[in-house]
Amino acid sequence: MPEIPAVSRRLLLGGTLATGALAAGIGSAGSASAAPAAASPAASGVSDASAAAPGRRPGQKSMINVPFEVHRTVRVAVIALGNRGSGMTPGWSAVPGCVVTAVCDIRADRAKRTADQLVSKGKPRPAEYGGSADSYADMLERDDIDLVYIATPWEFHYEQGKAALLAGKHVVVELPVATELRELWDLVDTSERTRKNLMLSENCSYGRNELAMLKMAHEGLFGDVTNGHGGYLHDLRALLFSDTYYTDSWRRLWHTRSTASFYAMHGLAPVAAAMDINRGDRMTVLRATATEPKGLADYRERFVPKSHPSWRETYINGDLVTCLIDTARGRVIRAEHDVSSPRPYSRINSLAGSRGIFEDYAGVSSAGGGRIYVEPDHSGHSWRAFDAYRKEFDHWLWKKIGDDAANNGGHGGMDYVLQWRTVQLMRAGLVPDIDVYDSAAWCAPVPLSVMSLADKGRPVAIPDFTRGGWVNLRSGLDSRTTEMPPVS
């Protein structure tokens, strides 16, 4: 059956279930169960200033379901070698069939140190770039790079991601891929024009519980999924005020100049995957709230010397920024962000529907501890442990490389699973699990939360970066078992 083609601009803006006629005679009529018809944003009180979809240039086509070309070996270049970049580089080099061919950091000594570390592990010495803010551009001119991994501070992601695409490379970008709507659209357009994939480095999408939750949702254990909750709740206060952890305190400075939900995609992305966002549903409207920015100033007052440069700063980013997101199929997502309050770590990671609920991070152990209640398996109003379900619905990636992940990657192995899978997709010539549309949609709450908060929490329309392609069911992270091509 042919897929439903992209729909008109009117439907893009309106957020209705686009159901263009497939062929003469039979068309999808839509239904209450499929898609509550959404009024146009303006008519429903939703600000639609954010919704406009730019037209495609002649010849520009969607990247939905566009596979990687087959790479016998994936040659990776790394931009930025701070905490994240230097931590991920050994993981890339450990994946079968992957080699790190170039590394770059504005501080040249970091490039040399990383190159030395790779050599000490028996890996080929990568080319080193550094010394200026433009060093990465020189590196991108190399012809022995297939994939660029970007781990710079957020403000550089868009520029460098776009440059990598224009240089003919595929790109994996740390969170967020961009911080403005026009930038997100530009990355989508650039990917479509260059025919290169850009992928958010959302390691939590490959979390073991998150993937099990996704498979359970597809099995129907939750019935019709109606709501999901996620976020990034991580007390970063000590790190934000550290003089060494975040280079030039870049992350703390964002709290002085933006009210955005910076980083909620760690929790949003897994929920979006379980709801098949961009694969049969899409996020349509966002409204944001924010608590007063108290946490950082309070921490500074208690723990930071008066001589510290941070005392010249004023923090404007609310401690808890909450985004409520509606979807075209009538679901609701709550995405939270809080890095400036005293609290144990959580990504929330909860999904619920007509037949049950899963809640992660519900226990008191350091591992979090998921709990579940699904009919007909359970009754009596008491939670059950998640363990048996995670075992049954364990994703093939974790069954296959879980041990390697534990030995090679951070964040409980999620990093390595992302890296292994990315390399496998490229070597086998498969469609990416996370594409540029997912990346843009998951990062859109960054600018949209600012817009909503500036208008007293008024709902704002979420752009359809797929330009109508979201209506078609398609596979994503819930993938079929495949082998890593052998390394010759």
Partner: protein
């Protein structure tokens, strides 16, 4: 009137449909074996590729078996709960001549196969004007994989009975409470005891106290072991948790057909003993709590209930209700 224009050209199809497809003029009647309809509007569903995770394509065929042209035809399709379908409804322009058929294709997201015995049920519904005048018709398709549990005891998943000296293993009601083995014995319910109810000879679980002894029903497929055969009804011995211990049991016969019946049990303590049409079998005094025996002045009961069978057919297996409030200790066929 212009003829219907369809994705697939209109074509006549035979009324007979192979496989597990069931033609049922809607609404289907509970407890009645599902049989193909011999006339009227036919709705059939193509085989569904269940080799997931994948997006599969399904074709629904609607045949106008009535004397009038069929107009305003809409076809909806749904899989098991939570499975995404694209789209959920398709409309057919124009009209369908008597004897003609139309195909509508849908895409459905199929998850990875689950281990064990699984039945996936797919439903397509046609709404229309004209045709046979019925206005609506439904077709279902049930796809099976795996093997049913060999007996009810093989499906035990809950501890309902504990010794008064060791109560902590029990959790009949989700609150850590259980029947007292001593009090059950006082009314004749000892391990392996025969229980006659509603014409069936049932057996009280023949397992030690404090071990799994009953099935909290959640759609398990269970064969009747050595107690299969023919009969007029299938009797369940059990009791309920909450006041909503009801559900449908689907009986599959060796000829591939099936029938569905609804039954329920009262709550094990506080409901009227005839709630949901059940029959009281035995009552005991008190229950075992996590801290020991207690609530001695309250009755805790076991009941019997049944669903009808087609006496001409041999039972192969039963799919228990999808409601874990229904607890089952045994089941057997009665004349």
């Amino acid at each position: 009137m212009r003829p219907a224009r369809l994705i697939s050209p209109l074509r006549a199809v035979a009324a007979a449909v192979a496989g597990a497809v069931l033609f049922v003029p809607a609404p289907a009647v509970a407890a009645a074996p599902q049989e193909p309809a011999s006339a009227g509007t036919g709705v059939s569903i193509s085989p569904v590729d269940l080799d997931g995770p994948a997006v599969s394509t399904v074709k629904v065929t609607v045949r106008n078996g009535g004397p009038q042209r069929m107009r305003s035809l809409k076809v909806s399709f749904a899989g098991p709960a939570g499975w995404a379908v694209q789209p959920s409804v398709r409309a057919v322009d124009g009209s369908l001549a008597p004897g003609a058929s139309a195909d509508a294709t849908f895409r459905i997201q199929v998850p990875e196969k689950r281990p064990g015995f699984v039945i996936r049920t797919f439903t397509a519904t046609a709404t229309y004007r004209g045709g046979d005048g019925g206005g609506t018709a439904t077709g279902t398709r049930a796809e099976r994989s795996g093997t049913p549990r060999a007996s009810l005891s093989a499906a035990y998943n809950n501890v309902a009975i504990t010794d008064e000296s060791a109560t902590r293993a029990g959790d009949y009601d989700g609150g850590g409470n259980s029947f007292s083995a001593q009090k059950l014995a006082a009314v004749g319910l000892t391990p392996g005891a025969k229980v006659d109810a509603l014409g069936a000879e049932l057996t009280w679980p023949d397992v030690p106290a404090g071990t799994k002894d009953n099935v909290a029903s959640s759609g398990q497929a269970v064969a009747l072991g050595g107690k299969g055969g023919k009969g007029g009804k299938l009797v369940f011995l059990g009791s309920g948790v909450t006041s909503a211990a009801t559900g449908s049991a689907t009986v599959y016969y060796t000829d591939g057909s099936s029938g569905t019946g609804t039954f329920g049990f009262p709550n094990w303590s506080f409901d009227p003993v005839t709630a949901h049409g059940a029959t009281l079998v035995k009552s005991t005094d008190g229950r075992n709590r996590q801290d020991g025996y207690g609530n001695a002045d309250v009755k805790y009961s076991v009941f019997a209930h049944s669903v009808p069978l087609d006496p001409a057919k041999t039972v192969e297996f039963v799919v228990l209700p999808s409601n874990a409030n229904v607890h089952i200790f045994d089941m057997a066929i009665a004349p």
